[in-house]
């Protein structure tokens, strides 16, 4: 027996164990859910970063796209201020310690698909004073923040969710720089911070803030103790900072939005990995107060995840299914409600920024989709709105994160791979 030959055969047999994947129709209220599966190695296909050059993302006919800010430092979420200025939260959080050999290897591989730039830990303000769609001013509004992510503005209060605390700045229309340091409203759970992003939305009356807090693991592999106050949406009293869980079992609620008219809180949530290319769908859902959405014990309602010990079948029995599947592994990181100014075809619904998959042989996401609504609920399949970020050979020029609708008729998309902010607007006639 030639030992070397034996080893080569054994290794190639191992590597070939990764299965193929066909993509079922996996959107809407009742997605097809195959059985969990995983080979000896997880499927990993990582973006190969490339420059945009002369290329631009693809938008529907009748729309134009332009880069309104470049060379930012990891832009994540954006906020359109009442005077049309745009705030961009820049940063890179996390830093969860390595626990297993796997963390070393997977962390290295995944880092190849992201920008090497150091996170800015700041808010940048963009201004288009003459309304021509070119943002001639780009200035630092506030810095020395700690991986800021969620942004909200109500009545002169600008709320910023750092990865470890919820802050408030005073804001007056027209300001280009924060007039003073921020006031801390409350600390946010930040131990370990595996999923570090803290998403944010504010009720219209400004009394209540909602903070999305991601889980501290994929599926409890950092232990149950690490999951206290994680994988949930907090309801925070804006004045006192007092908080309570608003909804739980949401693995990683990466973006929140208040539905105009109804005041209902909606979220996009990133679901668990490593049980197959078509499990578990990331989703868009109205967040129902007091309800449990499954993580970690179950997914999409009451489908038990066998990787969790100890199990909790009582919790599983109380789990509800979310409203609308976006597809497995798309990595939805942004959500915003549209309006009439976006054009009749895209007026009623939400835009969702999809950062793109790593745990899938046939990558998905890497685009911004529009989910049409009817009577205040999702209705119909998602439509590509901004695409062309990734080529079929893996070359990837951008990865969408936060999305915001400018009430004057434009979609603002943060791209944390090319460190760009994109603006998509209906083409002006004449």
């Amino acid at each position: 027996m030639k030992p070397g030959l034996f080893m080569a055969v054994a290794l190639s047999a191992l590597l070939a164990a990764c299965g193929g994947d066909t993509q079922p129709a996996q959107y809407g209220a009742a997605p097809e859910l195959p059985k969990p599966q995983r080979g000896l190695l997880p499927d990993m296909v990582i973006a190969k970063p490339a420059e945009w050059g002369d290329k631009l993302p693809t938008v529907p006919e009748g729309y134009t796209i332009s880069a309104i800010a470049t060379d930012l430092k990891i832009p994540r979420q954006t906020l359109v201020l009442p005077n049309g200025d745009i705030l961009v939260a820049e940063g890179r959080g996390g830093g969860a310690p390595v626990l297993k050999p796997k963390d070393v290897i997977a962390g290295y591989i995944k880092s190849k698909g992201t920008s090497p730039v150091k996170g800015g830990n700041r808010l940048t303000l963009l201004r288009d004073a003459d309304g021509d769609g070119a943002y001639e001013l780009s200035t630092v509004f506030a810095d020395n923040l700690n991986a800021p992510y969620g942004l909200a503005l109500v009545d002169g209060s600008l709320y910023v969710a750092n990865q470890d605390a919820l802050l408030r700045f005073d804001y007056q229309e027209g300001q280009t720089k924060a007039s003073g340091g921020p006031t801390k409203i409350t600390d946010l759970p930040s131990a370990i911070n595996h999923h570090w992003t803290k998403s944010l939305a504010a009720s219209a009356d400004g009394q209540t803030l909602y903070v999305g807090i991601g889980s501290n693991s994929n599926i409890t592999e950092r232990g149950m103790a690490a999951e206290v106050d994680r994988a949930m949406v907090w309801q925070v009293d804006a004045r006192s900072g007092a908080h309570k869980p608003y909804a739980t079992g949401l693995r990683n609620p990466t973006a929140l939005a208040i539905q105009p008219g109804t005041g209902q809180l909606w979220a996009v949530v990133n679901e668990r990995d490593e049980i197959g290319p078509n499990l578990v769908p990331d989703y868009l859902t109205a967040v129902q107060e007091g309800r449990f959405y499954g993580w970690p014990y179950s997914y999409w309602g009451q489908h038990v995840d066998d990787r969790v010990r100890p199990q909790n079948l009582e919790k599983v029995a109380s789990a509800i299914a979310p409203d609308y599947a976006l597809g497995s592994h798309v990595a939805a990181l942004g959500v915003t409600f549209s309006n009439e100014a976006m054009g009749s075809q895209f007026a009623d619904g939400v835009f969702v920024g999809e950062h793109g998959s790593w745990n899938r042989a046939d990558p998905v996401g890497y685009k911004v989709v529009f989910v049409p609504f009817r009577d205040g609920r999702p209705a119909g399949p998602p439509v590509d709105f901004v695409s062309g970020f990734r080529d079929s050979d893996g070359t990837t020029r951008g990865r969408p994160v936060g999305v915001s609708v400018d009430p004057r008729g434009a979609l603002i998309v943060a791209d944390d791979l090319s460190n760009t902010v994109w603006r998509v607007a209906p083409a002006r006639s004449g």
Binding site: P3, F6, S217, T220, E221, E274
Partner: protein
Amino acid sequence: MEVIIERRYSEAIFPLHALLLAGTVPLFLGAALSDAAYASTYEIQWSNFASWLIVGGLIFAGLALLFAIVDLCIPSRRRARGAGWYALILLITWVLGFVDALLHARDAWAAMPAGLALSVIVTLLACVAAWFGFCTPRIGGMK
């Protein structure tokens, strides 16, 4: 009386080779025990311990395997019976240990119970490999 010295190896096993081979056993044994502890307590830290101990076992077994292969490949060294078996068992130990490492890269309970079973098998194989490896020549054997 005729005294026959059986040559299990050309000479006694090289000291560094011996150290690596012997060290393989407690590393894989530690992994198996940690897996058992995780299975009975669901305390994830035991699973983390097992993952690292397996990596340690793979490094020690892998280097010992290099020694064994070099020994087999040098024609000038006179080999004893059993040297080939030793290398083969150590190779199988390493390959199954590598599979065990991949199993342990699964999150939480997904590594179980296959991970525990394989850790026990790899530990036993490491013991057998060490047994064969350490069958050094003895003076006084009768035939």
